[in-house]
């Protein structure tokens, strides 16, 4: 009987892999369902086991079974790992994803956990410190230091919490790992439990990932005896983005509104149910088994500056070769977008990329020389966040993207801080006015005259307030007055961003200014201003 491998990852299913799997089963093949290899342009992908190894075909459909089995199909890819997209990767965390049956516990070796349990807790924490692993979510806080605090805090009970609720647009590594190699995450959490002395863990998964929830639940059941006495359970989010913030997530597990807590106290000292808690995201915890199995040095040997190890980068949006690309830090943004990603799917020029999810900065191609590195991105006014890269072609309207960032913040704000709750709504209104004004014809000579800094401070007529006939008022204004009003609104928007940045308790309100200001700085022409001098920036 021929054995074939077909992904049952949610993305693969969305592209039709279930029908392909059924067709192969009907043809009498043994079908092994795996996670996704991570290159969506070749999905649905079938790998046929042969004497020379697994031979891939993709994309394929349910009618292609015969041609695949006799080797004549036109989409024959050869060995998938030899394709350039995969050959260039360094798969530490995603080594098994797309290759193995995610729930085949017999083929999972638990080497990292065995190694950890042969060590004293402090030695495990030291290994994680030595690996240089930093939190793969927000600011890149060293994971080992967090663990050290929890280990050092005496308590009758401690917890491990996995934050699988960071559902940033443009990211799918968490989802892919939970679906494609759930034991890896479970093992990482069990190692953390041993390291800090915690007996129970929670995986808090966003409800938008139904396949991941199902796979994790089944995997935890299967793994119970392997990780005992450590125990784990899945908790399901309920559609609140802010619960991706770690303290809001803890409140949510406790059964409360997911509101952000002020720090201190640190969750490492007083976290879930008031107990010392390790809270890490999926990619951080999933990196741990490799570190224990292969050694901290093997992990730290890869990377760039203070960013050690690999990052599973997610190339998304309007891009030809979208997918998951795990590589050591230091690769440039341009290599990822143009070489690996292959440019836009639409074939039009790349105009902007957003890195790090909805709270990440928009960057123009003039910034593509930036190396993927926490410090380099921070210095350039951006963040790596979850390492999702969303590619936009030249049809994008950056003022609308800035508006969306504010709108998203308004929808998702937990309501605790005024700048975030109210400011985001004011932000939407302000950008709306800018967009309206932009649409009106402006005499070129006059427009040029007020674009300089001198035009910015004209007083703001009462007729221009929103809510009392903006359109009519704008229509009756001279182009000169319009430009002044626009400059005033842009000034207002910048002030607002400033207030949100410094007056917000968490990243939602505090980082929403990043997409807004970066759009404004790098793409002023979309706000009715003169284009930025991109070339001069280099």
């Amino acid at each position: 009987m021929t054995r074939v491998y077909i992904s049952r990852d949610m993305a693969s299913v969305a592209l039709g892999s279930d029908a392909v799997a059924e067709a192969f089963a009907r043809a009498g093949c043994e079908v092994v369902r795996t996670g996704s290899r991570g290159l969506f342009a070749i999905e649905p992908l079938v790998e046929v086991e042969t004497a020379e190894g697994r031979i891939g075909y993709g994309p394929v459909g349910p009618d292609d079974v015969a041609a695949i089995l006799d080797g004549s199909h036109g989409h024959r890819l050869g060995k998938v790992e030899a394709l350039p997209f995969f050959a260039k990767q360094q798969r530490f965390t995603f080594a098994r994803c797309g290759v193995a049956d995610p729930l085949d516990i017999a083929s999972y070796d638990w080497r990292g956990l065995k190694a950890a349990r042969a060590m004293a807790p402090q030695a495990v924490v030291d290994a994680v410190k030595a690996s240089g692993l930093r939190g793969r979510g927000g600011a890149g806080f060293p994971t080992g230091i967090k663990w050290q605090t929890v280990l050092a805090t005496a308590a009758d009970e401690k917890f491990i919490v996995c934050n699988a609720d960071e559902g940033d647009s443009g990211t799918f590594a968490d989802r892919m790992l939970m679906e494609g190699d759930p034991f890896c995450l479970i093992e990482g959490m069990a190692i953390a439990g041993h390291a800090v002395g915690a007996g129970h863990g929670y995986v808090y998964i966003r409800s938008e990932y139904p396949y991941a929830i199902d796979t994790m639940r089944r995997a935890i059941e299967l793994a119970a005896s392997k990780i005992a006495p450590f125990t784990l359970e899945v908790r399901v989010g309920a559609g609140a983005y802010v619960c991706g913030e770690e303290t809001a997530l803890l409140d949510s597990i406790e059964g409360k509104r997911g509101q952000v807590r002020a720090k201190p106290p640190l969750p490492a000292i007083q976290g879930l149910f008031g107990k010392p808690t390790v809270i890490n995201n999926v990619l951080s915890l999933a990196a741990v088994p490799f570190i224990l199995a292969e050694g901290a040095d093997a992990y730290a040997a890869v990377g760039f500056g203070r960013s050690r190890g690999t990052m599973p980068v997610q190339i998304a949006g309007n891009v030809k070769n979208g997918g998951l690309f795990e590589i050591g830090f230091g690769i440039t943004l341009g290599e990822l977008v143009e070489e690996i990603g292959g440019g836009t799917a639409s074939g039009r020029p790349v105009r902007a990329v957003q890195v790090g999810g909805p709270l990440g900065a928009y960057m123009p191609p003039s910034m593509f020389h930036l190396p993927f590195d926490y410090e380099a991105f921070a210095a350039a006014g951006g963040l790596i966040g979850h390492a999702g890269i969303t590619v936009f072609d030249d049809s994008v309207d950056m003022a609308r993207m800035a508006r969306f960032a504010m709108e998203f913040c308004a929808v998702e704000s937990c309501g605790k801080c005024t700048p975030c709750r109210i400011g985001s709504t004011r932000g939407v209104e302000t950008i709306d006015r800018i967009i309206e004004a932009r649409a009106l014809p402006v005499a070129p000579a006059e427009a040029g005259a007020v674009m300089g800094p001198g035009g910015a401070l004209a007083s703001y007529g009462p007729g221009l307030r929103r809510g009392d006939g903006v359109e009519a008022a704008l229509g009756s204004r001279s182009p000169l007055r319009l430009d002044r009003a626009r400059d005033k609104d842009i000034g207002l928007l910048r002030d607002l961003c400033d207030t949100m940045k410094y007056g917000s308790l968490c990243a939602l309100g505090g980082f929403t200014p990043y997409p807004v200001l970066s759009a404004l700085d790098h793409f002023p022409e979309d706000f009715g201003g003169a284009p930025a001098l991109h070339e001069a920036a280099e």
């Binding site: 949610m10 993305a11 299913v13 969305a14 592209l15 969506f40 559902g167 940033d168 647009s169 443009g170 990211t171 799918f172 968490d174 989802r175 892919m176 409800s207 938008e208 990932y209 139904p210 396949y211 991941a212 908790r235 399901v236 989010g237 309920a238 559609g239 609140a240 983005y241 949510s252 597990i253 406790e254 059964g255 409360k256 509104r257 997911g258 149910f273 997610q314 190339i315 998304a316 949006g317 309007n318 891009v319 979208g322 997918g323 799917a345 957003q354 909805p358 999702g388 969303t390 590619v391 936009f392 072609d393 994008v396 993207m401 969306f404 998203f408 929808v411 998702e412 937990c414």
Partner: protein, 159 residues
Amino acid sequence: MSIEKEEAVEALVARLAAARKGERGALLPLLHDIQHELGRVDGAAVAAVAAELNLSRAEVHGVVSFYHDFRERPAGRHHVQYCRAESCQSRGGAVIEAALAERLRVAMGETRADGQVTLEPVYCLGLCAIGPNALVDGAPVARIDGTAAIERIAATVAA
């Protein structure tokens, strides 16, 4: 709502709460259970949960209203969750959204008057390189284009 119905909700909540007895932070899982069984978490359910867990109604209501997933009225027979986030936008999501809403004859965020379909926004399904994406009755649909995919969704929803 009639008295009998309210009693039925009470009994249901009591049964579901009993199954989670002793669980810490049981409120959210319990609300998920209720929505799963009832299709909604309405006022009667809130009152019953408050009684079961020894919380005030205001506390329970505060939690229910905080999370987007819990609904006071049941959704339509079919549920379309369409992704509005950035990666799907970069692939023409806004235009497709308008076409989908028109084809399904329901506005975003609404349930059609005949109760056949609810169209709701979702912010990222983690399928960001193959958008625009949606979940249709829980099944993922990718690369939604102006014609074929929308027709397929419309056919599912008509059933």
